[in-house]
């Protein structure tokens, strides 16, 4: 057990801090539309140009080839600098990228990975379907083999950023007769292909954050299959492992800062009785102290998961523990913000907008990438060894 950073790591931290101070965009990240994509892309390109993209990715794929500890330092400084959310590049950087590195062919890695880091292509996920959510393995989107192609028909849903993505991590059923986990293939979809149609869906935040995607005989070359034909379930589990593993590191670290902001907010917002500040209310004190302790725990858990990942690159089921803790905590933090704001929260405009937006958005976090209920099942069965139903 130690929390010491080497002199090299400390120098690295100084470098990161200086670069972020000079380069973090001054303007707020747009929360919707093509302006949002343009913003995310410009910011990703800026990071890549100066060598800050893919810190822990191998050099041959455009990364820096540095340790996860340096990736952690980057995220800590990134949060401190209040740099913008990774946005539409999240799936490429944290899912598709790591999955390709773990399971892709050499050609796939060389072709797709640098494009992600360069801010050239954004990715979206294509796992959930209208009839396959928590029961992901019951997915129905069909892909039949025809010559050198897979011909895909069906639909995917809750696909964040599909309208801006170039590529998609697509799960398709290649053998309808096999047992349901055995007939699935993980393939790189191209959103520009004929037969792909994207229909945005409005979320409760009032934004078009996710979409339904329709596939009408879309021809995808077999060369795009990642892993084996009909072996996609284990590739998908690897993808979800990354999502539940260190992918959320930036968000976790950011939460510490958010709680400190919340304490400041409670110090300058009136309590409902109008006679004192919110922070002078015992219930608010108790709540904020618990949130502060919990984000400290979350940070410590992030350090543990980095320590663990340094020993084994494919995350185990423990990642689900931190994911459940993180997402449930987010809900509590942003709910507290709304409570502190009081009647002010009813008007989203001005400085309230950020809190209201993050509050509404926090409801998605306990559903996406495995609901809290599914996460509890995974923990119970795979960590604690309780029997399946």
């Amino acid at each position: 057990m130690d929390l010491e950073f080497t002199p090299d790591e400390l120098r690295f931290r100084e470098e990161v801090r200086a670069w972020l101070a000079d380069n973090v965009p001054k303007e707020r990240r747009p929360s919707d539309g093509p302006e949002m994509f343009a913003f995310d892309r410009a910011w990703q390109r800026r990071q890549f140009e100066d060598g800050w993209a893919g810190i822990a990715w191998p050099k041959e794929y455009g990364g820096r080839g540095l340790s996860l500890t340096r990736q952690l330092i980057w995220h800590e400084e990134y949060a401190r600098a209040e740099a913008p959310h990774v946005g539409l590049f999240f799936i490429g950087l944290n899912h598709a990228g790591p999955t390709l590195m773990a399971r892709g062919s050499e050609e796939q890695k060389r072709r797709y990975l640098p494009l992600i880091l360069q801010g050239d292509t954004s990715w979206c996920q294509g796992f959930s379907e209208p009839g396959a959510g928590s029961d992901l393995a019951s997915l129905q989107t069909r892909a039949r083999m025809d010559g050198d192609d897979l011909v895909v028909s069906g639909t995917k849903i809750w696909t964040s950023g599909a309208q801006y993505a170039t590529y998609q991590e697509l799960l398709v059923r290649t053998d309808p007769d096999a047992q349901k986990h055995r007939g699935i293939t993980w393939v790189i979809g191209d959103m520009r292909l004929p037969g792909v149609e994207v229909r945005p869906i409005q979320t409760m935040e009032g934004r078009e954050q996710f979409c339904q995607v329709f596939y009408d005989d879309v021809r995808i070359p077999l060369a795009n299959v990642v892993g084996e034909i009909n072996g996609g379930w284990s590739v998908a589990m690897a993808t979800l492992g990354f999502e539940r593993g260190t992918a959320a590191l930036a968000d976790q670290i950011e939460l510490s800062r958010v709680v400190e902001e919340l304490i400041e907010l409670a110090g300058r917002t009136c309590a409902p009785d109008g006679r004192r500040m919110a922070i002078q209310d015992d219930a608010v004190v108790s709540n904020l102290a618990n949130l502060r302790a919990d984000v400290a725990a979350l940070r410590a858990m992030s350090y543990v998961s980095i320590s663990r990942a340094a020993r084994s690159h494919v995350p185990g089921p423990e990642g689900t523990v931190i994911a459940l803790f993180n997402t449930e905590l987010r809900r509590r933090i942003f709910t507290s913000a709304i409570e502190i704001l009081g009647p002010e929260a009813l008007d989203r405009s001005g400085t309230n907008e950020r809190w209201v937006e993050l509050y509404l958005n926090s409801f998605s976090k306990t559903i996406s990438a495995g609901t809290s209920e599914i996460r509890r099942n995974i923990i119970a069965q795979r960590v604690l060894g309780l029997p399946a139903a």
Binding site: M1, D2, L3, E9, S256, A293, I379, V383
Partner: protein, 333 residues
């Protein structure tokens, strides 16, 4: 940076766990005439009371990192708070320059008990009513309030028997007749951070033990023709318990490094660890009782001991609400 335990630290934990499971199993708690204080010289012989001490004060062989690991195992076995009180007394004596007294505590020749003030009291001139916890063999007493710690010697008490909520410990109500203050430490002192951290470690161990006991039971107990652990309502309770323990574990480890290194955020991290561990301890103890069904409500089942002991530990140095208020004014960086 590496927050995982070293193989040596894992060995220390395993050895302590095995030793306690054999020598001080939970069923000992059913005999209220006995006290764990009698085992302190033996535990001292294993080095448990001197892990966090300098060599000059009879210490060696470890640091606060190893000490919190052993304290976690002590919590798992529900060792009496006399162990913690005596460890802290050794630290306080060493800190005040009394190496001889420190080594006597570290060797288990002298022991300390907690005297919990019913109403907060001055540390230099303690008065009022106290609850004495398992102090039959104590040579010294530790008073721990929001202002700091006070180590008393030559205390003469006027005692009345109490009916302990935790009936595995002898608890009495008492007021001081005469005493000497051996040492007072202010709330900013590092030993207070170590004290909060070690309470957190004990609570963490209790949360783990309660979880493990519950998981073992729901794998075996059958209803509706299958183990109750296959039902989601049961699974989810167990999963939530694990998440609480993991959060507390990470923070106890993180905080122990901060306190051991004397970092600026040591006080904050130690108190945050205590809050996280208290949450895990209380909630996992309650879940364990609940998951045992009616068996969990019996005196015969060991589940209730964890719940009861949590209340005793919670009162050391100020209960949960006081900890929360204190945490909010500390610096997190």
């Amino acid at each position: 940076m590496d927050l995982l335990h070293t193989p040596e630290q894992e060995q220390i934990a395993e050895a302590a766990r095995r030793y306690l499971a054999t020598e001080l199993p939970l069923h000992r708690l059913r005999d209220p005439r006995r006290t764990d204080a009698a085992a302190l010289p033996t535990l001292a012989g294993l080095g448990w009371l001197s892990l966090g001490l300098d060599e000059a004060a009879g210490g060696g062989g470890g640091s606060l990192l190893e000490e919190q690991i052993v304290m976690r195992e002590a919590g798992r076995a529900l060792l009496s708070p006399v162990l913690l009180a005596t460890c802290l007394a050794a630290k306080i004596a060493a800190g005040s320059g009394d190496a001889r007294l420190a080594s006597q505590f570290a060797g288990g020749e002298r022991t300390a008990g907690f005297a919990i003030p019913v109403v907060a009291t001055e540390l230099a001139e303690p008065q009022g009513e106290f609850l004495l916890v398992d102090g039959r063999l104590a040579s010294h007493w530790l008073i721990w309030t929001a202002s700091g710690l006070s180590l008393l010697t030559h205390a003469v008490w006027e005692q009345r028997a109490a009916h302990g909520l935790d009936n595995s410990l002898l608890i009495s109500r008492a007021s001081l007749v005469s005493f000497r203050v051996a040492s007072v430490v202010e709330k900013e002192a590092p030993v207070v951070d170590a004290a909060n951290l070690l309470v957190a470690a004990m609570m963490l161990g209790m949360s783990r033990a309660a979880l493990e006991m519950a998981v073992d039971y729901v794998k075996l107990r059958e209803q509706f023709g299958q183990p109750i652990g296959s039902f989601q309502a049961v699974k989810h309770r167990c999963a939530d318990s694990l998440v609480r323990s993991e959060a507390a574990q990470a923070l106890v480890d993180f905080a122990s490094v901060c306190v051991a290194n004397g970092q600026a955020d040591a006080a904050f991290q130690a108190r945050a660890a205590r809050i996280a561990a208290s949450k895990a301890g209380f909630a996992n103890a309650a879940a364990n009782i609940q998951l045992h069904g009616a068996m969990g409500f019996t005196a015969e089942c060991d589940a209730h001991w964890f719940q009861k002991r949590m209340h005793v530990l919670d009162q050391l140095g100020g209960a949960r609400r006081a900890q929360e208020t204190a945490l909010l004014v500390l610096s997190a960086v």
